[in-house]
Structures are given as C-alpha cells and as structure tokens.
C-alpha cells in the first residue's frame, strides 16, 4: 500500500482533521483533490447520520444500489431527409439496472474514397471486390454485414495522398448517399488546412441528411466545420486527445458557434488495447460521470475510433508464435471497442465484420431491463462442459 492509500485509510476513520503550526502565503490558490479523497471527505461528513442508523443493527434485505443522477446525456439524431434516423445517447443513468437505457450502441463501418492498399488482410478479404467504389463498399457493409451507419473517410483529399478536390469529395459523398439509406459519418483526410474546406463541400452535397462531420478539433478551423453543420443540418464530431479539459473547451467553443448539445458527438480518443487503452478508460469514464453529474459541457454522446486497434502490432504483425492475425486482429478490435463501450461510448467506428457482430451482440443487451432475459440453467456447468 502506498502513501496515498495509507492516507485514505486513516481518513476513513477520522471525523476531523486538525493542522497545527501551519502558514501559507499565496496570491491565487487552486486545490485539486484526488476523487477518492473527495469522496472520503464526503463520507466523513455523512458519518454522524450513519452512526445514528447503526445503533439498530437490523438485517437489511438486498436492495439494488441505484444512484440519483442530476444530469443526463443529450440524445443526438443522425440521419434525416432520405436517411432512416439513428439515435445516440439519451442516458439518464450509468447502468441499465438503474434506469432503462434508451438507445443501444451503434456501429458505423469504415469505408474509404480510395482502395486503401494498407488495410490489413483480414479486412481486405471481406471487401476486396468493392474497394474501388465507395458506394459499392458501403452497400456491402450494410447489406451483408448489417451496418447501422457508414463512415466515409475522404482520405483521397489529403494533399499527400491524391489531393482530390472538395468537388470530387462531394461527388464521392453523393455516390455513397445514393448507394445506401443509412446515416453517414463524413471524415476528412486529417489535413488541418484542407479538412474544413472538404467537410464544407461534403456537407453541402449532403444537405438535410444530418450526417456527422468528423471532425472539429482545436488544430483546425472548427468554426468553418460548425458553420457547415448549421447551414446544411448536420452534427459535428468534437475530437479531443485524451484530455477532458480540452474536450470541455472545444465543446464550449462549438456551442458558442451556435451548435447545441443535440448537434455534437464527442470523440475523447480511443487508444488501442495495449497502447494506452487505460488512458481512454479513465477519460471516458470521467466524461460520462461528469455528464450525469450535470456538466453541461460534457453531456453529449461519445464516439470511439475503434479502428485504431488495427494499428497495434499484435493485431496485424505476422508472427507464428502469436497465432494467426485472422483471429488476433478481430479480437483486438472487439476488446478495444468493448472496453470503450463499458465506459459509456455510444457509437463505434469499426472495420471487421465479425468484430462488429460481437460488439453488437453485447451492446444490444444494454437496452433490456435487469432480469428480463431468459437465461439458461448453468447450475451444472462443471459437469456439462466438455
């Protein structure tokens, strides 16, 4: 046990803290308490009431530990016009046993405007025949693999990729809009100068279809992205790099531009399994708890770039002693996404059909109520297992 834990232990049984011979000089003072310390202090404050209760040691029956949450997550609609809408967020509680969850997690399949030779083999083999045409690619993802949504990444607009013009980007968007009826996420190439211009052209081409423009961040002209969303009725993906304060700031800026909570989805950044997933766990958990506690700047649904998992060498690198990438890759993507889902993420950008299926199977249980599912009798698992 370390010093912090020791301190917490000691505080646990303390009612008051007295500090002697103490002097502090300052102009401005900011105190940041670790959350566990804060809670401990609250507990100490509540102690008197508890002591009174403890006087009668009756055996209390089991009661589900349900919390009251002053805040709730905004519900964001994606898809309008010719699209069948999908809804994200809307949670009033952290878990389904506290309050029914209104919307199941949603998966959006990654599709690219160029054939993407760099995609790992386990994914290529599912889409090889359609990679020349984003429309066909999108159609296959929806028809064969049940995609709720499609993300069209306009990678080809990158100045160092193919330097496609915003006009060409708009044509690609039109192709995909024609091909499928699900809502779209529209992504740029990651070039901070060109992305806002490309997204603006794409937004105009998809006017009224309520797509998610990905993304607005502090490194580019987010005002232009926000304006395009407002002008042509779209939502905006607000992307911060595992930093809850950066996320707050960006959301505030976007709302100043005229967007509301119902027009924003947050991407707090998904670090892949083994490559910092624990940082994402912390940030996403804190963000969702802040939303339920009532922080208006963080009450939007969250998105995960689960595809990042494929960048991990355990997912793609050929290495016999690790087994086939055909199995490792999908599991890496599933566990990365699933971990984010269990922290509260609402929408997942993914690549592999079987990863998507597995994630959805678990995600779909989120909207059911506790103890309403027919479960098998597992009493004799010890002997029934092979």
């Amino acid at each position: 046990m370390d010093k912090m834990t020791q301190l917490l232990k000691l505080l646990e049984n303390t009612d008051t803290i007295e500090i002697n011979d103490f002097r502090m000089d300052f102009d401005e003072l900011e105190i940041q308490l670790m959350p566990a310390v804060q809670r401990m202090v609250q507990q100490v404050a509540q102690k008197q009431a508890v002591i009174a209760k403890e006087a009668t040691p009756t055996i209390e029956p089991f009661a589900p530990p349900v919390h009251d949450y002053p805040g709730e997550v905004a519900e964001v609609q994606l898809g309008a016009g010719t699209r069948k809408p999908v809804f994200l967020g809307g949670q009033k509680a952290l878990y389904r046993f506290e309050e029914a969850q209104p919307n199941a997690p949603v998966v959006t399949f990654d599709v690219f405007d160029i054939p993407m030779p760099g995609l790992p083999k386990p994914i290529r083999e599912h889409f090889e025949d359609v990679m020349e045409h984003p429309g066909e690619w999108a159609k296959k993802a929806v028809k064969d693999y049940g995609a709720n949504m499609i993300t069209i990444h306009l990678i080809g607009t990158g100045p160092k990729v193919m330097d496609k013009t915003p006009r060409q980007a708009a044509q690609d968007i039109e192709e995909v809009l024609q091909a499928v009826k699900v809502p779209l996420v529209i992504g740029g190439s990651g070039d901070p100068i060109k992305d806002p211009i490309v997204l603006e052209a794409a937004a105009a081409a998809a006017e009224g279809e309520r797509c998610l423009l990905a993304s607005a961040n502090l490194d580019l002209d987010y005002r232009k992205v926000a304006k395009a969303a407002i002008d042509y009725n779209h939502a905006v993906l607000s992307w911060a790099i595992t930093d809850i304060n950066m996320q707050k700031t960006l959301n505030k800026y976007l709302m100043k531009e005229g967007l509301t909570q119902k027009d924003i989805v947050m991407d707090p950044t998904t670090c892949a399994l083994g490559y910092g997933v624990e940082f994402s766990i912390d940030v996403i958990t804190r963000t969702r708890l802040a939303a339920l506690k009532g922080d208006k700047d963080l009450q939007m649904p969250m998105s995960s770039g689960t595809t990042n998992a494929w960048g991990s060498r355990e997912a793609w690198m050929k290495k016999d002693e690790w087994g086939p990438t055909a199995y490792r890759g999908p599991i890496w993507e599933i566990i990365t996404g699933l971990t984010m889902m269990l922290c509260g993420v609402d929408i997942f950008m993914m690549l592999h059909p079987s990863s998507v299926q597995m994630l959805k199977e678990i995600g779909n249980t989120f909207t059911r109520d506790y103890l309403t599912t027919d479960v098998p009798d597992i009493t004799n698992w010890i002997t029934e297992l092979e």
């Binding site: 530990p65 624990e278 766990i281 912390d282 087994g323 678990i362 599912t373 698992w381």
Partner: protein
C-alpha cells in the same frame, strides 16, 4: 512508527506484533482491510492473490491485484492429456513492455462424478507449479480431494443453496477459501453469504453466474451491483472478490475459432467490470494474448507515469562506428523498441529522450521533443565520446524535426522507420548503401 509504516505498506504482518490485545488486533485489522477482501489461494511460491480493491474506477486511485487467470482441466482426462494441458498452462507466456505475462492457476472439474477419480486428479496436480481450484458441487468429492491436497490451500468451488452446510464445514476444517455460487439471484446470495460469515468464514469468493449470450447483461449488472455494494455501501455480505467464468462459452459454442473469440470477449467484458478472477477454457495463444494485455493495461497504476530513465542505452557489440538511434522515454515506446532491437540482434546505441513519458507523436505535438531537447540529449549523454560518426537515426514519426535537430546539434539526421519492427531491415539497407560507396 517504522513498523506502522511497513504495516500499511503491506511489507510486514500484523501478527508479528506481540504487544497487541485481541480486540486491538481486530480493530487494526479492520482499519487496514480493503473494501474488497484480499484472498490468497495456494501457498508460498504457489499462490495467487485476488481482490483488495478500494475504488470503483481506476482513475480514482488504482486497481489492486491483477485478475488471476485460471485454466480448467477435468478428472476424465487421461494422464497424458492432463500432463499435456498442464504443460501448456505453465508454459504460456507473453512478453510485453518488459513484463512477462503468464497464467496463474488450474481449476479441476469433477466431471466423472466419481469422488476418488476427482481426488486422484487433484493429487496429480499437486506437483504442478500453480495453485488449485477444486470444482464440484458434491461435498463428498471435495472432501476426498481435500484429504489429498487440503494442505495446499486450494479454492473450493462451490457452496450453493443445496450444499452450503457441508461445504462450509469443509472450508473451516481445512482452512480453505470458499466460493459461493448463486446464479442471478443477489438476494439469495446475500442471505447465503451471511450464513457463511456467521460461521466465521472470512475468505469467500462470489460467483453470481456467468451468462455468455443474451444473459451477459444480467451478469454485468450483478457484478457491478456487488462491487458498488462493497465499495460504496460497505455491505459486509458483498465485500468479497468476484469470480467470472468465461469458460461457460464452450457450453454453447463448439467451434474452436468462434469459441476462442467469444471467450476472450467475455473475459474482457468481465475483467473490465470487476471480475477479480477468471476461469478460462481455451489455451490458444491468440485468444490469451489480448486478455493478458487487457489485464496489464487495466492494472497499471495511473498515479505512476509510465516511463523509463532517459539517457544512453547500449545493444549488442559496439564500436566507434556503431549506429545511433533515438526514441522517447514513454515506457510502451521504449520497451517496444528495445524488444525489436533485441530480437533483431541489433548492434547499436539508443538515445532515450526525456519526453515526460510521452510517445513519439504526442511529444512532437506537445513540444517535449524538439531540436533543442534532442541536441541537449546528444551533448549530455556523452555519445560524442563513444562514436566518431555524427549521424542520428530518428523515428519515422519524428521526420518533421530533422532539420531542426541538424541545426541545433550539428549532427546529420536520418529518418528511420515508423515502426521499430522495421529497424532490422533498415540496418541492412544502410549497410548495403555504405558498401556501395
């Protein structure tokens, strides 16, 4: 005071203090007890520890005791099959960021229905290097096994509504931790937990049932509720570690690949939400690597920055013409590079830049990695006395800094590969180029 500090650092044991009266002892024990009881299965070298958590979310403090992964065997296996499986379990190892990730225990299932067969199998496992879980709902079978391996302090699985009295007596007689198995009924679980506690049993593990299909939602709810009750409500009946059993996947899934993917998924789900121990059936390395990696990630201490000491590191046989590489001191980055250099049998110097534990791309954006900081590292590391070349190979992602580094340090910069797994090839090409000159 020194003793007290050691005590709370878990470096010494309360029992070593002879001056305490019994009630004082209990008071102090309670003071030091974590919200979730810490339980040891096995003894000495052959032990695994589970539980011990204090918080619901890792960012609040840290999680303690990485979830032991236990693999099942059964008493219908012939000697050869059993030995083979034990060998696989003991040999499974995955090295990641300088840490060897391994499996922790063996669970033997009484499939035969024969108590002697069960006891025999348990006895055979006594020679393995791993702690044991004895799985049978038949108290007679558990008793027979305990007669052979009771001194090993195995975990007993399980007490249920139907056998609780007998199982409790065995747990007390042999002083072994006991699992309470009550599928999907926390009300009943609380009732039975209280019965066990009233008998003075302290080491209890809770199994609220693992449902792997649509019931996974109920399983998650049960796990979360148990943990909330223990940490937030200090509900004494639930202040115990939780056992998850992803192995149940194989009741419904017979395909090795589909089953492996599903089992890893269930294991990850439960580990994310408070499972303190898992029983797994599949032993394919591609299934275990992701689960072992998730465990390593979740249980890193968020209060400790993940970094290594900056400075000069040496690999292989070196001379004044050896190449010089650079990377950052983010632990994950460093160990990845180190692993590649070692497996590629590289002979080179590696300069590790202090980026306050940030990765290459992040420190580039954050300004910790700059022409100036790299130049300072070159000067301070003394590398200029060790090699006569003045060429620095930087990570592919650091390419935008090349000019700045050259200006500040006076060294020539070569942009290396984006992923250090390509360093071996890079060296070969470099040699070819030199030879061509």
């Amino acid at each position: 005071m020194a003793f007290a500090t050691k005590l709370s650092d878990k470096e010494t044991d309360l029992e070593l203090c002879t001056q305490l009266a019994a009630d004082e002892m209990e008071k102090l024990e309670n003071l030091l007890a974590p919200a979730v009881r810490e339980i040891t299965i096995g003894k000495g070298e052959k032990a695994m520890i589970l539980g011990g958590d204090e918080v619901l979310y890792r960012y609040e403090l840290t999680y303690y005791n990485p979830t032991p992964l236990v693999i099942d065997v059964n008493d219908n296996m012939d000697e050869e099959a059993l030995n083979e499986r034990i060998k696989i379990i003991e040999a499974t190892e995955f090295e990641r960021t300088g840490e060897k990730l391994v499996l922790d225990g063996v669970a033997v299932r009484n499939v035969s229905g024969n108590k002697d067969k069960f006891a025999e199998t348990a006895l055979k496992l006594k020679s393995s290097k791993l702690p044991l879980v004895l799985c049978s709902l038949d108290p007679e079978a558990i008793k027979a096994a305990l007669e052979k391996v009771g001194s090993e302090k195995p975990l007993l699985y399980a007490a249920t509504e139907n056998n609780i009295e007998d199982m409790a007596s065995l747990a007390i007689e042999y002083d072994c931790p006991l699992t309470l198995f009550v599928p999907n009924d926390l009300e009943k679980m609380k009732e039975l937990s209280r019965i066990l506690r009233s008998k003075g049993i302290k080491d209890i593990v809770l199994d609220p049932g693992t449902y792997v299909d649509e019931g996974i939602g109920d399983t998650l709810d049960n796990f979360v509720m148990i943990r909330r009750l223990s940490i937030e409500e200090k509900d004494e009946d639930f202040r115990f570690p939780i056992l998850g059993i992803p192995a149940l996947t194989w009741l419904y899934e017979k395909d090795e690949v589909q089953g492996g993917i599903k089992e890893a998924t269930i294991a990850a789900t439960l580990m994310n939400k408070y499972a303190d121990m898992l029983i797994i059936h599949g032993t394919n390395i591609w299934e275990l690597i992701p689960v072992l990696t998730l465990r390593q990630s979740i249980f890193t201490d968020p209060r400790k920055p993940q970094m290594v000491d900056p400075g000069l590191y040496e690999f292989g046989e070196l001379d004044e013409n050896s190449p010089v590489l650079m990377t950052t001191n983010f632990a994950l980055t460093y160990y990845t590079v180190e692993g590649d250099l070692k497996s590629g049998k590289a002979n080179c110097y590696l300069l590790v830049l202090d980026t306050e534990g940030r990765a290459v791309d992040v420190s580039l954006a954050g300004g910790q990695q700059s022409g100036k900081s790299v130049a300072d590292l070159i000067k301070e590391s003394g590398i200029e006395d060790k090699v006569k070349t003045r060429t620095l190979i930087i990570p592919g992602l650091s390419a935008p800094l090349s000019g700045e580094i050259e200006d500040e340090s006076g060294w020539e910069v070569l942009v290396g590969p984006r992923d250090s797994s390509a360093v071996s090839d890079f060296f070969i090409k470099l040699k070819e180029k030199e030879n061509a000159k």
